[in-house]
């Protein structure tokens, strides 16, 4: 028990101090090579806000995995993770974001009805669907 507590304190100290340089999961780094480096919407909830439907990128998944939008509506991806992501369509209408880091966003406006499958090209299994009505 005492040993576990010591380890826990050491963990907290290391996490707090960030002793040394950083790697992929630096919590101090944000933005980067993002086309739209704006802060995420407050709360980051996945819900339609006006003409914008927000898809969070968190825990190396798209959340929600599937959204439905009308023609003319915009989908906005917001990266909540500390690793970079992108959003690239694999079927249906075509779009392709750059890689972007925490706090970065990418938007796509639906132009015609249909189903679009997309993925993060870095992270296998991180896929999503847009149904355009």
């Amino acid at each position: 028990m005492r040993r576990s507590l010591l380890l826990l304190f050491a963990a907290l100290a290391l996490l707090a101090a960030g002793c040394g340089s950083d790697d992929d999961e630096s919590t101090a780094t944000s933005g980067g090579a993002t086309a739209t480096a704006e802060a995420p919407a407050a709360g980051g909830e996945t819900a339609a806000a006006g003409d914008v439907v927000v898809v969070d990128m968190k825990n190396i998944q798209f959340d929600p995995k599937e959204v439905e939008v009308d023609v003319g509506q915009t989908v906005r991806w917001e990266n909540m993770d500390t690793v970079d992501h992108d959003a690239v369509s694999t079927s249906g209408d075509e779009f392709e974001s750059e890689l972007f880091g925490k706090g970065g966003t990418f938007e796509y406006t639906a132009e015609k009805p249909g189903t679009i499958e997309y993925e993060c090209t870095v992270h296998p299994g991180m896929v999503g669907t847009i149904v355009v009505r």
């Binding site: 380890l7 050491a10 963990a11 290391l14 996490l15 960030g18 002793c19 040394g20 340089s21 950083d22 790697d23 992929d24 999961e25 630096s26 780094t29 944000s30 933005g31 980067g32 090579a33 825990n59 190396i60 690793v83 970079d84 992108d86 750059e98 890689l99 880091g101 993060c120 090209t121 870095v122 992270h123 296998p124 299994g125």
Partner: protein, 218 residues
């Protein structure tokens, strides 16, 4: 020759497994067909334990007080994450390296290193994990890594693989042998043959990429 490149995500899985996964990673690596493996985001104490005939390690970042970090990372890998320490590693399935060289690419904002080994037969194999969150810095790392590796290799064939942190890297002097996302292998003086994406079995957050390369004269 089969070349594997794989970012090990600091020995973790998606979704988090909540435990140390070294043995699962080692078993998975053992089950694939490769001759040389270029690994990034490797817990620094792992390379000698992954069952290779020879290995070379280059420490990258967050490695001070490493014994403490190791104890913590082994117990709570998904809490400690990359704070457990970081390394790049090159594994050789059979035989021994005849040389190992390292080049620090940058100190800031994160320490990045390219390292390379001379394989049996004289081919040089370089392993890179370029800067993240900045395509401009990643491109600078790639350029420096490529020129350094070509200098080390001289007239010998060379390959450069790893996590380039850009989707379409263009290391000068090399041609693409295959890749997925930001994980690629490039060659100079070798012929790309084919590419395979083996099943990562839920490990890491990157796909492993295995490229087969041959002699230009074959």
């Amino acid at each position: 020759m089969r070349v594997l490149t794989w970012n090990l995500f600091h020995g973790r899985a998606v979704p988090p497994a909540g435990r140390d996964l070294r043995e699962r990673f080692a078993a998975t690596l053992a089950g694939w067909d490769w001759d040389v493996a270029l690994l990034q985001e490797v817990p620094p104490w792992w390379p000698p334990l992954l069952g290779a005939a020879d290995h070379a390690t280059a420490l990258t970042s967050r490695n001070c007080l490493l014994p403490v970090r190791r104890r913590l990372a082994e117990r709570w890998p998904d809490v400690v994450k990359s704070n457990g320490g970081g390394a790049n590693a090159i594994l050789l399935r059979e035989g021994r390296f005849s040389a190992h060289a390292r080049r620090r690419l940058r100190r800031w904002p994160e320490r990045r290193v390219m390292h390379a080994v001379r394989l049996p037969g004289g081919i040089w194999a370089g392993n890179l994990h370029a800067q993240v969150h900045s395509a401009e810095r990643a491109d600078a790392d790639i350029a420096l890594a490529a020129s350094t590796l070509l200098r080390w290799a001289g007239d010998a064939p060379a390959l450069l693989g790893g996590d380039f942190n850009v989707r379409r890297p263009r290391p000068e002097g090399f041609v693409s042998a295959g890749g997925r996302g930001v994980d690629h292998v490039f060659v100079r003086g070798l012929a790309p043959v084919d590419v395979e994406l083996p099943d990562r079995r839920g490990l890491s957050d990157h796909d492993p990429v295995i490229v087969r390369v041959g002699s230009l004269r074959a």
